[in-house]
């Protein structure tokens, strides 16, 4: 057991988890922040915190889960610090990347897929930061409402209402897109 723990402390193991999971952490934070720089900052903060506490982790899965969660919370904090802007705008290059990635799924309908990719990204953009967080954390990350409420410093009922508003807006946007298409 001791051997297992000490081998886990090796930096190359830590680095390999970063290589393997860094993209997932980054994308999760990007969905929260809509800003690649903030997402990168959030992941770096989580990584360094995890490094300082590396003796406490007993395996890859635990480290991955821990960093993922801390990075998301860091991302939420960074967005909160930016609150005066109210609506965080998704960067154009991020929108473009999403569109390209979406298009790659179905080459035969490239144009429609690209349009959908942009539309989905812009649908998220139209949400307020809190709505976006509530939706991403609940629907994409599977957090409990209590956890979302805690991270947003609000009540469970408020978090629930915020989630409902986000879902209503997103569905309205998707319906509008489908009618256009």
């Amino acid at each position: 057991m001791l051997q297992l723990l000490s081998s886990w402390l090796r930096p190359d193991h830590f680095q390999s988890v970063l290589k393997e999971r860094g993209g997932r952490w980054f994308n999760a934070c990007l969905r929260i922040t809509g800003d690649a720089d903030l997402a990168a900052d959030a992941v770096q903060e989580a990584l360094l915190r995890a490094w300082r506490r590396r003796d406490e982790f007993h395996g890859r899965a635990e480290l991955d889960t821990w960093i993922h969660r801390i990075a998301l919370n860091a991302a939420i904090d960074l967005v909160r610090k930016r609150k005066p802007q109210l609506h965080v705008e998704i960067q154009e290059d991020v929108v473009a990347n999403l569109a390209i990635a979406t298009a790659a799924i179905s080459p035969e309908s490239e144009y429609a897929q690209e349009a959908l990719g942009k539309d989905l990204a812009h649908a998220l953009e139209r949400l307020t930061p809190n709505e976006r967080q509530a939706f991403v954390l609940k629907h994409l990350e599977g957090w409990r409402l209590e956890e979302i409420a805690t991270s947003q410093h609000t009540s469970v009922n408020n978090a629930k209402q915020t989630l409902f508003r986000a879902v209503r807006k997103l569905r309205a946007d998707l319906h509008a897109w489908q009618e256009h298409a």
């Binding site: 680095q15 980054f26 900052d41 490094w51 991020v94 409990r144 879902v167 569905r171």
Partner: protein, 233 residues
């Protein structure tokens, strides 16, 4: 009548009491159109699972360097904690000053824009930053002599001030200065921990690394950024 919101909460297995869950479960079992409605809602929302974007190479390198530096600097720590405190405090301030001076030098020529504060307010804001630096220096200089509790309190005060200036920079649209100030927060937080004397060299390495990243970014940026003198509290 079961609302879409209730259906969604049922799908999440969250936010409903046992009675509501049971009512929806029975309804879903007996009404195929309700099951179809739930499936359609979830399918719609699943479309928001947009494909992942690739992490930019420079970001990946930055994370790896941060880990490497944290790893390489941490072991040399235990000899003279008090000396390390003083060194950490001095280096923190020196680096903070370098970052801010560097940002001023690489900023735009003082062409007024709609987002900047009128020039008449600039000296006051500059004084504010200078005061922050001087005050931080003073407070951190005493940190080596402080007890754990006092040290935590001192660092907390510095953190609060730093946060205020970062928020002010955000409000003024000076994202670069805000980011520079925010980069100090985790390192300062570390200094507040009781065992932090051991961690100071690693933190300093991290601080140096963040400074280099910032300098590289500043060099790469166009000089069209906002004027850092526009920071207001």
């Amino acid at each position: 009548m079961i609302s879409d919101n209730d259906l969604l909460l049922y799908h999440y297995g969250d936010g409903l009491d046992a009675e509501e869950r049971e009512r929806i479960r029975i309804a879903l079992a007996t009404q195929p159109q309700l099951t179809e409605r739930l499936r359609a809602i979830v399918a719609e929302l699943d479309r928001m699972r947009t494909p992942e974007v690739t992490v930019p190479a420079d970001v990946e390198q930055r994370w790896q360097r941060a880990l490497e530096l944290a790893n390489s600097e941490r072991p040399r720590s235990r000899a003279t904690p008090r000396f390390q405190w003083a060194a950490a405090a001095t280096a923190c301030i020196a680096l903070l000053a370098i970052v801010i001076v560097n940002m001023r030098e690489t900023s735009a020529p003082s062409t007024p824009t709609a987002q900047t504060v009128p020039p008449s307010t600039a000296p006051r804001n500059e004084h504010g930053l200078q005061w922050h630096l001087a005050s931080t220096e003073q407070q951190l200089a005493a940190i080596g002599e402080a007890s754990d509790a006092d040290r935590a309190r001192l660092v907390q005060t510095v953190l609060e001030q730093n946060r205020l200036f970062a928020a002010a920079a955000e409000r003024a649209g000076d994202e670069r200065l805000a980011r520079a100030l925010r980069a100090f927060a985790p390192i300062l937080q570390n200094l507040a921990e009781p065992q932090a004397a051991d961690a100071a060299p690693g933190d300093l390495a991290q601080l140096s690394f963040e400074l280099r990243v910032m300098q590289a970014r500043l060099a790469a940026d166009s000089p069209a950024a906002s004027d850092p003198r526009a920071v207001t509290l």
